[in-house]
């Protein structure tokens, strides 16, 4: 059963300000103790602070909040990209992440080759990846464009391809950032239909968005983040009303 459990989850970003990542600064700083900021000479930003929540299967959760509230960081943490510095995190289920549409894509390769590549990224073999390319290719609606290099695609076409790739594997936990709104109306309608199909199978959607229309249309629950903390958590209307 797909589920997400977070208990006092914290993520801290070491802040390597423009030049601080250099060896020179490090060496200089250790010779002048006054310049030290903490024991390990690092400025740390608490990106996520003490988050506790659980998401059960069938829930469609929106992450809302201002820029820098920690929405994307939370998505990346759920995807397993960032390791928490504090607390516990358990994510069960096959994860599909749509955080950055172009990540892991090769702009010189064709759409079809990129789908195969993504299949390999997910641990499929060549044959399964090619089968996936047929299906994702059909859903993307890119037709002939599937066989030209991706650098010739428009932003909307890239979004179609990424969305098709991410959802074709029937993820049980789908993590999405708001970029997908670059698709046209026809695609958005199909995307919503696809998401509903996914979520009907008792699966989880976590969506970070600024668009309240999208949040209202797609989600059942909202978590509002502010400065890396949860300030509100509940049904969509209730949370949006409190903003």
């Amino acid at each position: 059963m797909p589920q997400i459990l977070a208990e006092r989850l914290s993520i801290a970003f070491p802040l390597y300000h423009v030049g601080a990542r250099s060896l020179k600064k490090r060496l200089m700083a250790s010779t002048i103790p006054r310049l030290r900021t903490d024991s390990s000479n690092r400025v740390v930003v608490a990106a996520l602070n003490d988050l506790s929540f659980d998401i059960r299967s069938g829930e469609r959760v929106a992450l809302v909040g201002h820029n820098g509230a920690g929405k994307t960081t939370l998505l990346r943490t759920l995807a397993g990209v960032y390791e928490p510095v504090g607390g516990k995190l358990l994510v069960e289920g096959r994860i599909g992440s749509l955080i950055d549409p172009s990540a892991g894509m090769d702009s010189e390769a064709t759409g079809r080759e990129n789908i195969v590549l993504r299949g390999l990224f997910r641990g499929l073999d060549q044959k399964q990846s090619e089968a996936m390319a047929v299906e994702a290719g059909a859903f993307s609606g890119l037709a002939d464009f599937l066989d030209v290099p991706m650098r010739t695609y428009s932003a909307g076409m890239q979004v179609r391809l990424s969305f098709a790739i991410a959802t074709v594997m029937q993820p049980e936990v789908l993590l999405m950032d708001e970029w997908f709104s670059a698709g046209d109306a026809d695609f958005m309608a199909r995307a919503q239909q696809r998401l509903e199909e996914l979520v009907r199978n008792a699966e989880i959607l976590v969506l970070a968005s600024h668009s309240m229309d999208v949040v209202r249309a797609w989600c059942t629950r909202a978590i509002r983040l502010q400065g890396g903390r949860i300030v509100d958590d509940g049904p969509v209307e209730q949370v949006l009303a409190g903003m």
Binding site: V81, G123, A131
Partner: protein
């Protein structure tokens, strides 16, 4: 209809982290084993890299063969005159040396960016970091393989037959590859954290080129030749180069090469265990 075949193939992944029990060693080992089990991915990525690098080029990676050939003909003629060695002795040595050195220096250079260039993937998908190191290693292995005909051509021209001793190059090459893998992992991480390591490594590589017997033969050092064993670059090159030229390296050199491999692997693994979880924040 939704695609459902992979459900059987790939077990449901579970992200589970508990900061009070980080299980660093276990996670590092999982990373390595999963990375190697997914060897198809680095192979596909390396193929794409090579295709992109030589896109539109007629000769493709054969340019490297050509440039190596030109370098070693020019150097061979020049140095055999300077050092007063005859070509029959010198050219076969030079071709093996130069090819090995090119692989080594290219690997070291690319190791420094192996994780940084994969930033997009690292911040989107939880992927074993081993995959990025293997990608770098495989890309360079394929490119290096284009140089092998050169060795054959030179050996044929000069009638060199290393005999069965050449088989010793196989364990030698294994040591070489093991070191290369450990170094790519280590440098990839270090350069992601400290961006000045790259240029430092570049300088050191250049220094190593002149300090090691790559274009000069070890014999030129005469009685001081014994000290060469302290140069790790020499040891690792000699266990491959010696057998290929029909000379079995001394036991001391084999021991030194094994010792270096142990140290490099241990250091790299320790670093990987300690900082694997931080890599995503560094890139």
């Amino acid at each position: 209809m939704l695609f459902s075949a992979p459900a059987a193939a790939a077990p449901d992944p579970v992200v589970h982290s508990d900061s009070s029990a980080p299980r660093r060693i276990g996670r590092a080992l999982e990373d390595l084993s999963l990375g190697f089990r997914r060897w198809r991915l680095p192979v596909a990525l390396a193929q794409l890299d090579i295709r992109n690098r030589y896109r539109g080029s007629v000769l493709g990676p054969m340019w490297l063969t050509l440039s190596t050939a030109v370098t070693f003909i020019a150097l061979g003629l020049l140095y055999s005159t300077l050092f007063k060695i005859n070509l029959h002795d010198y050219l076969p040595f030079l071709v093996v040396s130069l090819i090995l050195w090119n692989v080594f220096s290219q690997l070291i250079t690319e190791a420094c960016t192996s994780l940084v260039v994969a930033e997009g993937i690292i911040r989107q998908l939880p992927l074993p970091f081993t995959v990025h190191a293997l990608r770098c290693l495989m890309r360079n292995a394929v490119i290096a393989a284009h140089n092998l005909p050169l060795i054959l051509v030179v050996f044929l021209i000069f009638g060199i037959n290393p005999g069965l001793t050449a088989l010793l190059a196989i364990p030698g090459l294994m040591l070489f590859v093991l070191n290369a893998f450990a170094l790519v992992m280590f440098l990839g991480m270090l350069c992601a954290r400290f961006r000045d390591i790259g240029p430092i490594v570049g300088t050191l590589t250049q220094l190593a080129f002149f300090m090691s017997p790559v274009i000069w033969k070890p014999e030129l050092l005469h009685d001081r030749q014994v000290w060469l064993v302290l140069n790790p670059v020499f040891d690792l090159m000699e266990v491959v180069r010696g057998p290929l030229l029909g000379q079995s390296p001394s036991l001391l050199i084999w021991a030194a090469a094994c010792g270096i491999t142990t140290v490099v692997c241990a250091l790299s693994f320790a670093f990987f265990v300690r900082f694997r979880g931080r890599i995503a924040f560094w890139v």
